[in-house]
Symmetry: C2
Subunit: 442 residues, 2 copies
């Protein structure tokens, strides 16, 4: 029974929670048992209080059926860079090690709580969701490998069946990359579609909330709760769909590793077999190749003010990577920074228009499977363009790479096509999951 509950799709479980067939406490107990058994190895959680979770679950159980919210009893994990009014927020930083619960929830957390979600706990992030240094969280599929970052714990907890849904954020590739490494769906919304109030700030231009789940229907539950609404578009049909495969300049730059190369060809074959018209496509404008250097310039230019408060407060406890940004030791001039801001802004509507020529666009999520070791959370360079273009995207898992580790591909669209990305991702993701070759041994 406990095994079923931890693995059940939460959009189905949610119906049973709402009509009282399943008590929230029972569901919570199943997940907490899984966490107790597994987390000493996985280290997905920065903060979790089992007794408090159960008390919250019992409170939810007392709510009469007609007053239950759309997420009644649905367990969600929160990346530890989002303020929570009943749990501390510590940013994986020594500066905030002793911080207690906040007076308010981050806006995206308030939405979950007010919708009836059971907030299980806070998940490990890299420091301020900005560094690429990992640990203690590991990849549940192979503890010697990184789960990716910065939303390490959120991805690992979902992949490990410790929680069905988790909040993350992406500035470079912090949702899509860990989703690919851990074999789950990772959805980054259109920039601005979900409020960022109450989240740690790194890059105001790129920071974007996102979510992890093990199936797209579970993500659609959240899309409804956040009231994500698209620019109207036609419904996706795989048969006859024109699907663009966009390697981008990063393919040669990263470069693409063996597991990505295999997944890429397999994806094209699978979609062709299922009736789609697949073609390799290119960036619509040469300037798109500059997104890589522009992302770096913006991280430095915006990190400079973002970490300045922490720097003045306690420089000794700030990692050198962030000190370098505050002190501009990478010598990114204000003019370089503004060129990057304005150049990226120019490309956004070009991308939006270009993307409507295809029924779907697939692009790599990561150069390869999760690297071995916990020191480095991996290469985000395939993801950076979409963060900077403010484009909604989702990692579709399903492919098996070297060592049997998962690797996914990204489905991306123009701004405010969030629901379309989910809807299309469901169809394509089903094929990748069933025929891509990845089998979780968890």
């Amino acid at each position: 029974m406990s095994l079923d509950l931890t693995r059940a799709p939460v959009h189905q479980t949610a119906l049973r929670l709402k009509n009282g067939q399943l008590r929230v406490e029972q569901y919570a107990k199943a997940l907490l048992a899984r966490i107790a058994a597994r987390d000493p190895e996985v280290h997905a959680w920065a903060y979790i209080d089992h007794e408090y979770v159960l008390a919250q679950a019992r409170k939810l159980d007392k709510i009469p059926a007609e007053k239950r919210g759309p997420l009644h009893g649905v367990p969600v994990a929160i990346k530890d860079i989002a303020l929570t009014k009943d749990m501390p927020t510590r940013y994986n930083s020594d500066i905030y090690r002793g911080t207690t619960a906040s007076s308010i929830d981050a806006a995206c957390v308030a939405t979950l709580r007010a919708s009836g979600a059971l907030l299980l706990g806070k998940t490990h992030s890299t420091e301020f969701a900005a560094t690429t240094e990992g640990g203690p969280c590991v990849n549940p599929h192979n503890v010697k490998h990184t789960p990716g970052g910065s939303s390490s714990g959120s991805a690992a907890a979902v992949a490990d069946f410790q929680v069905p849904l988790a909040l993350g954020t992406q500035t470079g590739g912090s949702v899509v990359r860990p989703a690919s490494y851990t074999g789950v769906y990772g959805f980054k919304a259109t920039w601005g579609a979900i409020s960022r109030e109450g989240l740690a700030q790194y890059s105001i231009t790129c920071d974007t909330p996102g979510f992890f789940a093990r199936n797209v229907d579970d993500l659609e539950l959240l899309a409804k709760v956040y009231d994500l609404e698209d620019i109207p578009s036609t419904k996706f049909q795989l048969q006859g769909a024109r699907i663009g495969f966009l390697k981008t300049h990063v393919w040669d730059l990263a470069p693409a590793g063996p597991s990505l190369q295999v997944a890429w060809e397999k994806a094209k074959d699978l979609l062709t077999q299922h009736g789609a018209k697949v073609e390799e496509i290119e960036w619509p404008d040469a300037d798109f190749e500059k997104l890589t250097k522009w992302h770096l310039a913006i991280m430095n230019g915006e990190g400079r003010s973002a970490f300045y408060g922490h720097y003045v407060l306690d420089k000794d406890n700030l990692p050198s990577f962030l000190i370098d940004q505050v002190e501009n030791n990478n010598n990114i001039s204000r003019l370089d920074f503004l060129e990057a801001l304005d150049g990226s802004a120019r490309l956004r509507p070009i991308w939006d228009r270009f993307s409507t020529q295809y029924d779907a666009i697939i692009t790599p999520s990561v150069p390869d499977i999760a690297p071995e070791g916990l020191e480095f959370t991996g290469d985000a360079s395939f993801c950076q363009p979409w963060s900077l273009l403010h484009a909604p995207c989702i990692n579709l898992p399903g492919f098996a790479g070297e060592k049997g580790l998962p690797i996914g591909l990204t489905l991306v669209a123009g701004r405010y096509h969030d629901r379309q990305v989910l809807d299309t991702g469901k169809t394509i993701g089903n094929i990748f999951e069933k025929e891509g070759g990845f089998n979780s041994s968890l």
Copy 2:
């Protein structure tokens, strides 16, 4: 003595605080006495605890001279939409009426506190710094008139000599407009130059921290503390300076009222008399006129997600103005919204380049003196373009309008010319203050 301390420029007082000639407690007592005497009428403060302020002052007095920060004992007021870890943050919202102190300071508050500032209290804002409904705060120069908004209390407290410096934020005209109405300097930084972490969110594209002071040297004290660094430019010299006077399309739209018209002509005369070459100039591109409708589209498009969390939490206690944004009752389509975002982004570098052709650019702050009544905090349409263009700007006070009420003009530059705006504003502001005709009777 107490009168002197409340009126003394704080960049001078700061030296005496630092070398021990003046105790922080003594300074705090002088300000608290002024507040006790005046605030029952002015209502600038949303939260202030006199005993706590004195305790903090005594703590600061115990810090040895060599360990004192650059703002040691400098009193600063904080707009009540910035998180503070020792004072509640309530956004002038019934939803957050019972909220207690936060676990963390907003980044811009942390910087002040870590630099030794004495945080006096929280100042009145309009609801979530988003509505234009005023009260209870009044204009200290005439209690029947609005002090402007949304940073109402910050402007009024500085104008009324209750505090020398105050933090505000601007999304439309929430720094420059109340500064003009209350006859003080109001400086809005380049967007992104100061972190917005821990501030209420309305428009991620336009929300910008800013500051109020009674002289520019006091603002420069803050500019140093926030490490604002410019794109290199030449030092301003009034003699022979080419000064553009830019009415913008708003002049006819607002339209410009009698007090603005008088101040405008007087400013040109004064600068000409002092040796500058003054010329009326126009927008460099016809699309700049669209900034007015684009600002509206962006407020609606971004307010939709910004207030969504509050809406889900407690719609009944959200004002209809914000409910309309969440529910998109103004029918701004996602395409209109994106056109506004992309259009504004296109104009930013055009503005930056254009502005370098002049040694200074002057533009109206507001259509007229502060309106009578507290219901409406006034017209922000002259300020909106600079919020959207991310341009640093400052209200230079000094002119007397109808009823003897103050009216100011705005000095504006290209992005990352914050220090230039302050430096130039000092020279021009001195002339306006001495010869513009406004005399505070406070």
